[in-house]
Symmetry: C2
Subunit: 336 residues, 2 copies
């Protein structure tokens, strides 16, 4: 069997409770079947590491079924088509989709999110600012928060793949932007690389006081990737008519039982505020137009991104927990 | 001094913590000044008793400043103009507004919500289904929930002045309606008088199981007047794309400190649901068109209402706590 037809996979070998750790995965090699009519073979260039993978690995109700034990971990990836018997996909084309943590994947096109046609830019961007992260920032911010010029937009996990794009898109729309992130180093990245007007370290600053100081007229928009004490503090400072995008809940690894916290009803009532859950996969039919605008902003230097690329398949098993320990800087990828 | 110029008032005499009780009020009599140019005198026909009065009596941040100790309790009322030196208001006209718990009020028009022109209907309705309660139901439901034919609408405090109107408006719009109320007697009122398709007693039924049973396709719209355990149960059954109007927080008398409960973020995310605070006073410019449609529904027999009228000024001090003990049936009023 040639190396080209040997598929190396990172499989989910035991069921985590909470955040998946390296010990919950193992690596194997399996042969790839030959192409059937209507199929094509993708050689992966980059694997994505996303917070959503925690939920996929857990055996809990979610918007997707849990990953079966013994199968390749579900993951987004970008790859090159190296062989094809499908009339719609040609050898040499790049595609992104939910191909999993494996080096080779047979596809009939159903797991393809899109063809990656912006070949002047790195294909890795298709997993970040030109992929679900960027599209999440784009529609999550513009559909729900819809910031107006001069409004104040607060973003949690602001140095991350989604948050950094949210801040920059809000700036493009003329809003004032306030980042909430972990370390002082990330505060500096938010200010210098992602152009936030202010940045708060929830590890070193008093978040409540810092929000009060940086948002004297209140928070018009809050893009919430965290839930938990950070969001509790932001909600005490909502401006009348505030909008909150509920995009992620990184502060809690486990929702069974549901964590308790201050009830939001009174804050929503007093501010006549809106809080709305956002799931990017609802918007597939609009991905292309978002990517087109995001790519133009990247080319124009208005949308910076930071990638942290882990080398080699062996780095994948421990990568999800890095997100929850704030050990990554920008979009976390694995180059298998 | 003639009786006509003696104003009997229910004044806030001590500051309650939580729900105002009879002991926090006292009754006095003060003379009314003679009319200045641009003023008119209103003789009250009905005083309103509303959950919002709890917040007004407390010394806590709210959308209105707290009522000063020693002054007439802030309240909505409807009355007849008995004398006027104002070109826009004539003797004999009816007006509703924030005139307070007093028998006579001088006004320059600034505290008038509207002239009550539907003289074929009882003026008391101007404090209920044709007043802020009905308008709250109308815009709170239609602006935020916007129920579609066949969708399922759940309403808490469903036998109350707002909830009963919400259910009937939802029915008019073709939705399935599910009431949550306290006693079995109120369950029957919800079913028979207000036309809910189903009604749940949170005192006698298991709310979680009853929601599951009556909302097999999930809850599309939830009009939330309570917060607390009832709402926690409803939120576990949201349909994808659900809308929640946050209108009141009757389950909690005190928000300092903020009560804790299960965090809502995950439910909002999984259902891509929207939760939005509603304050009727934001919509003053649209009151007239709501009242016109509500009055037509009343005349057509599509919008029933129940009023409980307490006789005499002495009944006012203990009336607010009746709302929080679910002792009222329908809109609670005082006839001074």
């Amino acid at each position: 069997m040639s190396e080209a037809s040997l598929n190396r996979r990172v499989i989910l070998s035991s069921r985590p409770k909470g955040i998946p750790q390296a010990e919950h995965f193992s690596i194997d090699e399996v042969p790839v079947a030959s192409l059937a009519e209507g199929q094509f073979l993708i050689k992966m260039l980059y694997w994505s590491v996303d917070p959503a993978m925690r939920g996929w690995a857990n055996d809990a109700p979610n918007y997707l079924p849990p990953v079966a034990l013994g199968s390749a971990m579900r993951a987004f990836a970008v790859g090159e088509i190296v062989d094809s018997r499908h009339s719609g996909y040609k050898q040499g084309e790049l595609v992104s989709g939910k191909f999993g943590w494996q080096t080779l994947a047979l596809s009939d096109g159903s797991d393809v999110d899109r063809k990656v046609t912006e070949t002047d830019l790195s294909p890795s961007l298709a997993l970040g600012v030109l992929g679900l992260n960027g599209i999440t920032a784009y529609y999550g911010l513009l559909d729900i928060c819809d910031p107006r010029p001069g409004e104040t937009v607060v973003v949690s996990t602001a140095a991350g793949a989604v948050g950094s794009a949210v801040g920059q898109i809000a700036s493009i729309k003329g809003a004032r932007t306030v980042a909430i992130t972990s370390s002082r180093a990330k505060v500096n990245i938010c200010l210098q690389q992602f152009g936030f007007d202010h940045a708060i370290s929830y590890l070193e600053d008093n978040v409540d006081a810092a929000i009060r100081e940086t948002c004297p007229d209140g928070v018009d928009c809050y893009f919430d990737n965290t839930c938990g004490p950070i969001s509790d503090a932001v909600l005490m400072h909502l401006a009348v008519g505030a909008r909150i995008t509920v995009c992620g809940t990184a502060a809690f690894a486990d929702w069974n039982p549901i964590p308790v916290g201050p009830r939001v009803n009174r804050q929503l009532l007093v501010a006549r505020a809106r809080m709305q859950g956002f799931l990017v996969l609802d918007h597939k039919h609009r991905f292309a137009s978002a990517v087109e605008e995001l790519a133009n902003w990247v080319r124009a230097g208005l949308l910076n991104t930071e990638e942290q690329i882990l080398e080699g398949i062996e780095a994948a098993p421990g990568s999800i927990s890095m997100l929850y320990e704030s050990k990554n800087t920008g979009k976390l990828l694995v180059k298998p």
